[in-house]
Homo-oligomer: 345 residues x 2
DNA sequence: TGTCACTACTCAATCGATTAAGCATACGAA
DNA sequence: TTCGTATGCTTAATCGATTGAGTAGTGACA
C-alpha cells in the first residue's frame, strides 16, 4: 500500500520565511492593512499566491474572528425530507450568496425541536458557526427567546411580525392571496375552500387571514378552513369531505402542492372534472406540479432567491452592518397550468 | 434597542479556576486520560457539566486534532436540485450517523466540477473538513487523482471497481438488474428496452452491462440502449421513438424515475395502455413514483441507509480505523406498483 | 545638531485545548 | 534511614493568525 504524503498546507510563517519578513508583516500584507511598503506587500502576495495559501479558519475562529460558517438546522423526519423540494432549493440559494463571500454552510438534520435547540447551543459554545437560519416559524415559537438568550446571530425565515423582534425575511403571502382570489373572482368563483397546513405554523395563520380578507373584499365566500399535515392523503380526504358536503365549493386553494395533488386525484377519481367542475390551486409550487395531469396551477415562489435573500441578511447581521431591517422578500406569482377554470353554473 | 449580552462560552481555563486545578489537569479529566485522581476527575466533570462546557472545535482543529466536520459538495444547477430527492435523503442518512458522533456536515452546492475541486482544495488548506464524500462518480473521473494528490480523506459514493483504489460504497446494480429481468422474464417479456442515463456516469455503464448479461442469461433481448439526461422530456421522446420503431419492445426499464414518468405519459397519451400493452420500470425510486397514475413500479433503494453506510465508512477512514474496505452496500428491491404486467401477445 | 514625525517593520501576547516534560509528595522496599 | 518509583499534579510549548506595543531608520525642519 503506497504511503500518501499529504502536501503541507502553507501557513503565514512559511510565507514569512520565503519573503524574508516577519509573520506580522505577512498578516498586514494579506489583509490589506497599512504597515508594509507597497513593494513588500506585492512580494508577499506573490509568494502567497505561489504556495497557494488559504487562511486557517480554525486559527481565525480561535482569535475570535469568526468561522466563516453559517448554520441551518432542518427539523424533519429523514423520509419526509426527500419529497420536500423546498429545502434543497433554499439551500442552493443560500449557497449562491455565501460561497461567493467565502462562507460555508453547516447543515444538520434533527428529528425534533428539542435537539434542534441543543444543536444551536453546541454550535455556539464550540464556535462552529457565526450565525444561523431559523425556518418553520411557529406561533409563539419557543425557539426564538432561547436563541435570543444564547446571543446567536440569526435570521428568521418567516413573517417578520412573528419573529419576536429578530431580523426576518418573509414572503408576502397577503399579496399572493390577493392575486389568487382576484383570479378566482375573474373566473366567477363565489365559493372557495382553503385547505391550510398545520395550525402551529405562522404562515398557516397569515395565509388564512389573507384569504379571508381578500374574499371579503372581492365578494367571495371562503367556505371552509381545513388544517392538514401537508400529505397527499390529507389532500385526498379534504377534497372528498368538501365535495360530499352540502353546497360544495367551486374552487379549492391548498397550502402546498402535495395536498393539491391528492385533491385533484380524488376529484377526477370520483368523476369531478378538473378544472371543468372544480378549480384547484396550490400555494407552494414545485416541479411536482408540472408532472401531474392536468398540470397543477400554483402560486410560485422563487425559493432559491428566497434563500439568497435570507443569506444576504444573515451576512449583514453577522458582520454587524448597521441595523438589519426585516423584509418581506419573496413574492409568489400565479402560474396557471391547467387546473383553473371558470366557475361552473 | 436592548443590548444583548452574549453569555460567555465556558473554556477549560474557567473550569480549571472553579475546580482549583490547572488547565492541563482539566484536559486530562475531560478526555478520560490518566493523570488525575478519581476524586479530582469527578469534581472536574461535575463543574464542566454545570457550566455547560463544549470543546472549542477551532482550538482542537488548530492543534491538528481534526475539525469534527465532513464535507459534501453537490455539483448541480440550483433549479435541478429541487426535484432530485436523492441528495436530501442521502444527507439525512449521513446526518443520522455523524451527528450521533459529534460530527457536522459542511455542504456546498457548486455549478461545475471545476469549482467542486476548488472547494476541496480550499477546505483542505483551511482545515475545514476532516474528510469528504464524492458523488456522481464518472468514467475516468478527473477528480479522483486530484483528491488523492491533495491527500484529503475520502469515501467515493459509487461502484468500488471505478474508484481508483479509493474506499467506496456502491449499490449492487447487477443484483437489481437480475431482479428486474427475472420479473420481466416471469411476465413473459422477450423484448426489453433499456433507457439509460448520461454516458459519463459509472453507474450508467454498470447498469447497461448488468442488463445485457441478465438478458443473455434469461433469454431476453435488450433491444435498445438509449442515453438520456434524466429529464421527463427525454423519457417522453425515448418512448415515442421506441414505439415508432419496427418491432417495439414490450417493456422498458428506465435509469431514473423522471424519464419513466415521461414515458408513461407518452404511452398513455398515444393510446398505448400501461401496463396492458407496455410495462414500465424505473430504476431509482422516489416519492414521485407513488404520485403518478398508474403508480410507477421501481427498483427501490434505501437512500438514507446508503448515506448512513457512506458516513460510517468515512468516519472509519478519518479515524484511521485499520484498513477500510470498499463495499456494495445498497441493494435495490423491486417494488411493483402497477406498471408491470404480462407481455402482450 | 537635536528632535519630531513618520514609515516599515519586528516582537510578543492572545485565542482554547492538548501534551511532553518537570516536580513535589507519599509510600514501599532494602 | 535512604533510595527508588508511582501518583497527581503543574508548567510551558504548540497549533496559525492577528494586533497592540515597541523599535530601527529616514527625512524634515528649527
Amino acid at each position: 500500500m503506497a504511503m500518501r504524503k499529504p502536501p503541507s498546507r502553507p501557513t503565514i510563517a512559511e510565507i514569512a520565511k520565503q519573503s524574508g519578513v516577519s509573520a506580522g508583516a505577512v498578516s498586514y500584507a494579506l489583509n490589506g492593512r497599512p504597515g508594509v511598503s507597497d513593494e513588500t506587500r506585492k512580494r508577499i502576495l506573490e509568494v502567497a499566491r505561489e504556495v497557494g495559501w488559504v487562511p486557517s479558519t480554525a486559527a481565525r475562529a480561535l482569535r475570535g474572528g469568526g468561522t466563516a460558517t453559517l448554520g441551518l438546522v432542518i427539523t424533519r423526519e429523514p423520509d419526509v425530507l426527500g419529497i420536500e423540494p423546498f429545502f434543497m432549493s433554499f439551500v442552493a440559494g443560500i449557497e449562491k450568496v455565501i460561497s461567493a463571500r467565502g462562507y460555508a454552510l453547516l447543515l444538520q438534520v434533527t428529528p425534533d425541536p428539542e435537539r434542534e435547540l441543543q444543536t444551536y447551543r453546541e454550535w455556539w459554545s464550540a464556535r462552529r458557526v457565526d450565525g444561523i437560519f431559523v425556518t418553520d416559524l411557529a406561533i409563539d415559537d419557543q425557539r426564538l427567546p432561547i436563541i435570543n438568550e444564547i446571543g446567536l446571530p440569526v435570521v428568521v425565515v418567516g413573517d417578520p411580525a412573528f419573529s419576536d423582534g429578530l431580523p426576518a425575511v418573509g414572503s408576502d403571502d397577503a399579496a399572493a392571496a390577493n392575486a389568487a382570489m382576484e383570479r378566482l373572482a375573474e373566473l366567477g368563483h363565489k365559493r372557495v375552500a382553503h385547505i391550510a397546513g398545520p395550525e402551529r405554523f405562522v404562515h398557516t395563520h397569515v395565509r388564512s387571514d389573507a384569504m379571508a380578507r381578500a374574499g371579503e373584499r372581492l365578494g367571495i365566500q371562503v367556505v371552509a378552513e381545513v388544517n392538514t399535515d401537508y400529505s397527499v392523503a390529507a389532500g385526498t380526504a379534504a377534497c372528498h369531505q368538501l365535495l360530499d358536503g352540502a353546497n360544495p365549493p367551486t374552487a379549492m386553494v391548498f397550502d402546498n402542492d402535495l395536498t393539491a395533488i391528492g385533491a385533484v386525484r380524488a376529484a377526477t377519481g370520483r368523476g369531478v372534472e378538473v378544472p371543468g367542475q372544480l378549480s384547484v390551486l396550490a400555494w407552494d409550487d414545485s416541479p411536482l406540479c408540472e408532472l401531474t395531469v392536468p398540470a397543477l396551477s400554483a402560486l410560485s415562489r422563487d425559493v432559491s432567491a428566497y434563500g439568497a435573500d435570507a443569506a444576504t441578511m444573515l451576512l449583514n447581521v453577522v458582520n454587524g452592518s448597521a441595523e438589519v431591517k426585516s423584509v418581506r422578500s419573496s413574492v409568489a406569482r400565479l402560474v396557471d397550468r391547467g387546473t383553473l377554470g371558470p366557475a361552473p353554473r
